[in-house]
């Protein structure tokens, strides 16, 4: 396979044509099946509720929520897999199931409704196109969706902020730990993560949360919290490694 010599030729005059100048034949999705229905997703969800195994939950008093949550996640995995097979009913079901959660995360990060809507649209269009790359063996559908949504949002934030760095940023809003009530309803993965988060220094835990929910870069976080960049990096890096060790126990 041929490779161009890479680093030896820096800064060649670069011409990137305006992508709108490309005209391309867009495939029309089969016209005869344009109506979405929810039968599929709901039927699958009911099947799962009947067959889910209560023995999988850790504490007897939380059997119902935990198995319901596991069943919900299982359904979401199957639904996203079906979307990967270009099943449009499954796509509608997936949107019904997950859009509010995904939108909640995006909105928390960009704090601008119009932009959040734009991103949600972009994310789900990408979901339809890329769902065949989803592999349930490698991770859950919720992780896949949240990761896709956060990556898109972070990229969008970088586009804005790396051009306008002097934007007056809101004062550091401490990201608060989840309330015990909220945590009780959270997934097992979320509860485990919180147990490990609680082992971090409170300030560093706050910074990790702030980083996650703001999508801000190291330098933005440092200036927002008035901390030297090196300090910010070492706080976050140490916290991440501590979290990893704790989660792998």
């Amino acid at each position: 396979m041929t490779h161009f010599p890479l680093r030896s030729m820096p800064n060649a005059s670069r011409f990137v044509p305006d992508p709108t100048r490309f005209t391309a034949v867009k495939m029309l999705y089969c016209a005869e099946r344009q109506r979405y229905g929810l039968r599929h997703g709901l039927a699958r969800m009911n099947d799962l509720f009947e067959s889910s195994d209560p023995a999988r939950s850790p504490s007897p008093q939380r059997v119902d929520e935990t198995s319901a949550d596991a069943a919900w996640r299982d359904t979401l995995n199957r639904t996203l897999s079906a979307v990967g097979q270009e099943d449009r009913e499954a796509f509608a079901a997936l949107y019904k199931m997950a859009s509010a959660r995904v939108f909640g995360v995006i909105l928390r990060m960009v704090r601008d409704r119009a932009e959040a809507e734009d991103l949600l649209q972009d994310v789900f269009v990408t979901v339809w196109r890329r769902a065949s790359a989803f592999d349930p063996a490698r991770g859950s559908a919720m992780t896949w969706l949240i990761t896709l949504a956060r990556n898109r949002t972070i990229d969008r934030l970088r586009e804005h902020r790396e051009t306008a760095l002097d934007e007056p940023e809101a004062l550091a809003i401490p990201s608060e730990d989840p309330t015990p009530a909220a945590l009780a309803e959270a997934s097992q993965a979320r509860q485990r993560l919180e147990a490990c988060m609680q082992r971090l220094e409170p300030q560093q835990r706050g910074v990790v949360r702030e980083a996650f929910f703001s999508g801000a870069s190291y330098s933005e976080l440092a200036s927002r919290l008035s901390v030297p960049l090196g300090t910010m990096k070492s706080w976050i890096r140490r916290s991440l490694m501590q979290l990893k060790m704790c989660l792998e126990q």
């Binding site: 060649a12 011409f15 990790v208 980083a211 996650f212």
Partner: protein, 242 residues
Amino acid sequence: MNTPANHDDELRCAEYALGVLSAAERRELEREAGENPLVQANLHRWQARIAPLAEDAPPVEPPPRVWQRIQRDLGVAPEVRAARRAPSTWWDNLRLWRWLGLGAGIAALVLLAVNFSSLMHFGQPTAVVSPYMVAAIARQDGVTHWTATVDTRRGNMVVVPADKSVIAAGRATELWLIPPNAKPIALGVFPADQPASMALPPEILAQMGDNAMLAVSIEPSGGSPTGQPTGPVVASGTIRPA
């Protein structure tokens, strides 16, 4: 190339998943993850570790217009289907361009032969008057993947797929012009499996002389981050007058 799962990779995957890297650092890690399955797996693990935090954000029901826009984008909303159909003129006709591309390729060969024989007869080259130039962009094994037709008068180029190409998710095909003894010039990302047309400014057109080459490399979805090809070159072909 990175050694697998070293401490630096581990940290950068963690930082990527949390979302604290700059745009350039993000692109760099995405590129490495695309090339190195170990980095890719590490990144997946970190995303799975971090993603549960998202549950703390309360769900917010999006307005119905977002779903309508998604359907419109995917070309399934009924009122838009009619609108979409209208502009599918001859310009968007894949078959037409394939035949045109093929025809142009054959014409180029014929003209070459004619030129060659007239050269033999008269001992001097015949001026080529055609405003068109063509290139068959082929794999190393000779299979043509795309044909490019350049209209030098109008300053545009049409690239037509001649064979079905499968590009990995998150990757894109980028087209490069390589003038003789010069660096590749990025012409932009183009859809691998659909005909595409692009405008060529005069400074690019000027480089499209004889013996210049067109090449296609596999890049991250937004195109090469460096301005030079970063991925493997999958096909190339010399530009010839048609």
